[in-house]
Amino acid sequence: MSVAADTKKLVARLVLGTVLMFGFGFAMVPIYNVFCEITGLNGKITRTGEAEEPLVVNQDRTIKVRFISVFNEEMPWEFEPLQKVYRVNPGQMQQTAFVARNPTANNMVAQAIPSVSPSEAAQYLQKVNCFCFDRQPLDAGAQAEMPMVFFIDPEIPEHLDSITLSYTLFDITDQQQLVEASKNNNDKRSTL
């Protein structure tokens, strides 16, 4: 019967559509990340690395850069910027640091996640070096100064005169142990 055959074909197409849309839901994750990377929308993506050209310092402008630290609810560390506010000229290299202390009796590993506000400014803030590039281990009771070096792109638009950079520390000790455990297992296997 032709109606049955038509129905079969149509249903196959609709099921395919359903599967594709399920996939699209997951595809939104990378699409979102790429979109944010291009536009700097979520204020997360800042430029990193050395300056591409020798920097021309613009002495006529100063930009207020404020550092804040945010406590994740499960993170017991003490974590604060060494100096809360800097006034920098665009193009001027500036070094600062955050002070972290692990008051617990356990060795822990942390990861800092940066966020820039306003998000439009994210693409003009370049980090030459930052503690947030790496995982930060701290032994029980230890304290460390975690350095970062940054500059502001001289091409920063006129209306941006104040930038806030916030860091949130997350406890990744468990994940780190898992990674190491699996590494050890692999090593053992290879020696056998």
Binding site: T18, G23, G25, Q175
Partner: protein
């Protein structure tokens, strides 16, 4: 349409296999009318359960301070009320109406995939059984709001969230199967002569709704799957600590969520477009523009989702785009409202119960639409966001919008289902109690919302006390007046004056050509459809 042909056909029909007897009739049935009835009863049960939860919420909010329930339980009530009303009451009611009416409106003997139809219904009681059982679990039911934003629904969720996720998966599978069935029925099983542009509008709006369902229910399934993986399998889709982003959750959710709100209103447009011409005794004004308006609303629904999240910190360009795209929806919606009014214009109108509900729909839905336009203004939305103004807005489009249209549809087609004429005085009593109750409940919420009362809180500042007390009184009037509806429907099934095949004088369409009550099997040979006059 020649009525003689069809009645002749029905005389020829042998009513040899009627419904089976006993409970297995309902368990094994593949008959679209049985399944439609089960959907409608299920939806009524969920409507009453969700309504009781709403009354718990309103009772607690009658006075400031904490009176009746713990704040944690209050949050479970707001969450469950939303989930049950959206997925358990409104959506299954529309699917039930589609099951009953679409085959009869297009002259098909049944749905295209009858066995799958049975399956899509019988998943639902299990899905909602599981969702309701979370109320008795350790840590309580989901308490993160029906929008289940991460990380509230992941990191901070009660353990029952996993059952919630599986329930959402199951109801999603049910809706997708229902939608596939409806598309296949409409596209492949129309009577000869019924071209797409001659289909009744209820069929058109359901065709478009079914496509919306197929497009976005899988995205909902995807987002709850991501939550499941974040909670149990160590991924970090929405966890910033692992490189994810909680704002991503809102984008994926509302990519589903905005088309979802049109899924809950497009079939209502179809119902009202069937009822108003009947009782105005005029053809629907602007049929083609109605079809195109429905299609444009469906298209626009995919590109406006971020207006639910203006306050997350979007760039200006994004706010402008989503603001203007949202306002654009007012154009096709305005076309529809205009057409309904133009249909009534100089018609010889009578005001039977279904018509009263349909007219109330047009007026009150428009109020909800206008407050929606206010919310669409991005700079103003920062003030309204997450206040009772939003609550007032979406209840105006969902209660006197979607729910009133469902009630209008039930009253309109009930004589066709039961074979008994409507008890008009009980119907009108129900209508006026509901109409008054709904407005007393939700209109004051506009004011307390503009004054700044946040939504989803069990306690509030003293200056909101009077309007909250009024809203609670209205909620109880509305809630208890639904018992009149239940009584009226049951009475109508059991007794009443015999209804004719065309029990409303001005009714047009194939469903009115078959006798009332509609026989168990209709249109086993396709009727010849010659189009509307």
């Amino acid at each position: 349409m020649s009525a003689a042909d069809i009645t002749a056909e029905h005389h020829d029909e042998h009513h040899d296999h009627g419904p089976a007897k006993g409970f297995t009739r309902w368990l094994y049935t593949t008959n679209h009318k049985d399944i439609g009835s089960m959907y409608l009863w299920f939806s009524l049960a969920m409507f009453l359960v969700g309504g009781c939860m709403a009354l718990v919420i309103r009772a607690e909010l009658f006075q400031p301070g904490l009176q009746l329930v713990e704040p944690g339980f209050f949050n479970q009530m707001t969450t469950m009320h939303g989930l049950i009303m959206v997925f358990g009451a409104v959506m299954p009611a529309f699917v039930g109406l589609a099951n009953w009416m679409v085959p009869m409106m297009i002259g098909a003997p049944d749905m295209a995939l009858p066995r799958m139809n049975n399956w899509s219904f019988w998943i639902l009681p299990f899905a909602f059984g599981m969702l309701l059982l979370t109320l008795f679990m350790d840590g309580g039911a989901p308490n993160f709001g029906w929008t289940f934003y991460a990380p509230l629904s992941t990191t901070y969720a009660p353990p029952s969230v996993t059952f919630f996720i599986f329930a959402v998966h199951m109801m999603g599978i049910s809706s997708i199967m229902g939608a596939i069935n409806i598309v296949a029925t409409i596209l492949n099983m129309r009577a000869p002569g019924m071209t797409l542009m001659k289909m009744p509008l209820f069929v058109w709006t359901w065709l478009i709704t079914a496509y919306l369902l197929i497009a976005v229910m899988p995205v909902l399934a995807g987002v709850v799957t991501m939550m499941l993986m974040d909670i149990h399998f160590g991924t970090s889709f929405f966890d910033a600590a692992g490189g994810g982003d909680p704002v991503l959750f809102q984008h994926v959710f509302w990519f589903f969520g905005h088309p979802e709100v049109y899924i809950m209103i497009l079939p209502a447009f179809g119902i009202v477009s069937a009822i108003i011409p009947t009782f105005a005794r005029k053809q629907l004004f602007g049929y083609a523009s109605m079809v195109y308006a429905t299609a444009s609303i469906a298209f626009l629904s995919f590109i406006v989702w971020a207006h639910h999240m203006f306050t997350v910190g979007m760039p200006l360009a994004g706010e402008l785009f989503f603001m203007f795209a949202t306002m654009l929806i007012a154009v096709p919606t305005g076309v529809k409202v205009f057409n309904w009014i133009a249909t009534m214009w100089r018609g010889s109108m009578t005001f039977e119960t279904p018509m009263l509900f349909a007219i109330a729909f047009v007026i009150l839905f428009t109020i909800g639409g206008l407050s929606g336009l206010m919310l669409a203004i991005a700079p103003a939305d920062f003030q309204y966001h997450d206040t009772y103004f939003v609550v007032a807005h979406f209840h105006y489009v969902l209660v006197p919008g979607a729910i009133f249209s469902i009630m209008a549809a039930v009253y309109y087609w009930l004589p066709k289902w039961t074979g008994h004429q409507l008890n008009e005085s009980a119907g009108k009593f129900h209508f006026w109690m509901s109409f008054i109750g709904v407005n007393i409940t939700f209109f004051p919420m506009h004011f307390i919302g503009l004054a700044g009362m946040p939504r989803r809180i069990p306690d509030y500042a003293l200056q909101f006390a009077d309007f909250n007390a009024i809203a609670t009184v209205g909620a109880f009037i509305f809630g208890f007046s639904q018992l009149i509806f239940v009584w009226n429907v049951i009475q109508n099934i059991r007794s009443g004056k015999k209804a004719e095949a065309r029990c409303w004088e001005g009714a047009e369409g194939l469903e009115w050509e078959v006798p009332s009550p509609a026989p168990y099997h209709t249109f086993t040979t396709p009727p010849k459809f010659e189009g509307a006059k």
